[in-house]
């Protein structure tokens, strides 16, 4: 992206790839990471509904997980979870 110049742009700055922001890793912004107790989860989907990043995944069983590629670690899911089965822990440098 850094090598992109004005010559590579379409006339009128038209973006020809819809949803190209999906390639951008917003997960790098995170300082707290959500972890979940899968035993107490009742699959209500409130975390999925309230996530501003759409970073909650749904698997075939209807169980909700986290897409850490996009998760910015805001903690809304942990706050809004009616069973309080999501907790935020500090991200460790790996």
């Amino acid at each position: 992206m850094a090598d992109l110049t004005w010559k590579d742009m379409e006339i009128g700055n038209i973006i020809t790839t819809p949803g190209s922001a999906r390639a951008y890793r917003t997960g790098d912004w995170r300082s707290d990471k959500p972890i979940k107790d899968y035993e107490t989860c009742i699959k209500c989907g409130m975390c999925w509904l309230y996530c501003p990043e759409a970073a909650i995944t749904i698997d075939d069983d209807g169980m909700y997980g986290f897409d850490l590629f996009y998760c910015k670690g805001c903690g809304i899911c942990a706050e809004e979870c009616p069973k309080k089965c999501i907790t935020m822990i500090e991200e460790e440098e790996v």
Binding site: L4, I15, A21, A23, P52, A54, I76
Partner: protein, 308 residues
């Protein structure tokens, strides 16, 4: 008029995301959440005119875009004018047979500054001309994009960078919030509503209803801004809910001039809502009392309109 309108329940909400992940919204952005829910309700047969503001800068940092639907960036002042142009253009092209006949919802998206301050004359014109479009105002109560400057939508008592709580004027913003929904109602348009992403089903139903209504529709959405309101990032949904429960931002809809309150419970004291936010930190008990009186008075007026 509203036959196509559907009720949303959790299982009926699509997993499709026309507003893609990877946008640059602040951590815990209530506005991005509101846009995501609104786009889920609208689907993909839309054309969007988006005013300058938070949503524009977070969703389309060139060369990336979060939109998977036709989208155009407009200026602050002409969003409603561009949207009405799109609507008329589609109508004419379909009439001439250049493009296939299809219903396309034309959506104008703007922040509170672009709606209540800069773009109000274009909005007023478009509402008056009766174009079939939806105007979504995402109200975060200041110019958050450029660094929390006051707008006419900033509520009384909030501290912003251009209306700070100082030594002489200790209250912050000295004027009351402009009542934009009432201005929209005054144009006698078929549908006006207020919504909050903390009530997601209510928001999605209202946005869908606004799109299905023939003629202009206006939806005013309170989008909590954790950066500008000085709250922790995980509180944006909770604070949005408290704004409704305390009566600071009542949820109602106006269909052909008929008012209807959507959340009508006993109001909680506004103190609960104000004390949680850093932008109201300086307020004295007298000022809080003043805000409480104003809220009670405004809510009573609204209730009277809804019951008459």
């Amino acid at each position: 008029m509203t036959q196509e309108f559907v009720k949303f329940g959790k299982r009926e909400i699509t997993t499709d995301e026309p507003f893609a992940s990877g946008h640059r919204g602040c951590i815990g952005c209530g506005e991005a959440l509101a846009v995501r829910l609104a786009m889920k309700a609208l689907g993909r047969d839309v054309a969007i005119a988006n005013a300058t503001g938070c949503i524009e800068i977070i969703s389309s940092p060139l060369p990336d875009t979060s939109w998977e639907v036709p989208w155009i960036h407009t200026l602050f002042e002409n969003t409603a004018a561009v949207a009405s142009g799109i609507e008329s253009g589609y109508k004419m092209l379909m009439k001439k047979g250049r493009i296939p006949q299809k219903h396309i919802d034309v959506i104008a998206i703007a922040g509170d500054g672009a709606t209540a301050d800069i773009g109000i004359q274009a909005l007023s014109g478009a509402l008056e001309r009766g174009h079939d479009f939806v105007y979504l105002c995402f109200d975060n109560e200041a110019y958050m994009n450029t660094g929390i400057q006051r707008s006419s939508s900033t509520p009384y008592g909030a501290s912003t960078t251009t209306a700070p709580a100082g030594k002489v004027i200790t209250v912050g913003q000295q004027t009351q919030k402009k009542n934009m929904p009432a201005i929209a109602v005054a144009h006698n348009i078929p549908y006006v509503a207020t919504a909050s992403p903390s009530y997601p089903f209510d928001l999605m139903e209202k946005v869908k209803k606004a799109a299905d209504v023939k003629g202009p529709a206006y939806v005013h959405i309170l989008s909590v801004c954790d950066t500008g309101w000085r709250i922790p990032t995980n509180m944006s949904v909770t604070i949005g809910r408290m704004a409704v429960q305390t009566g600071m931002f009542p949820l109602y809809e106006v269909e052909n001039g008929k008012y209807k309150l959507n959340v009508d419970k006993e109001l909680k004291p506004v103190e609960e809502y104000l004390k949680k936010q850093g932008r109201y930190r300086h307020l004295s008990d007298d000022e809080i009392q003043k805000i409480q009186e104003h809220v009670t008075q405004e809510y009573a007026k609204l209730k009277q309109l809804a019951t008459s």
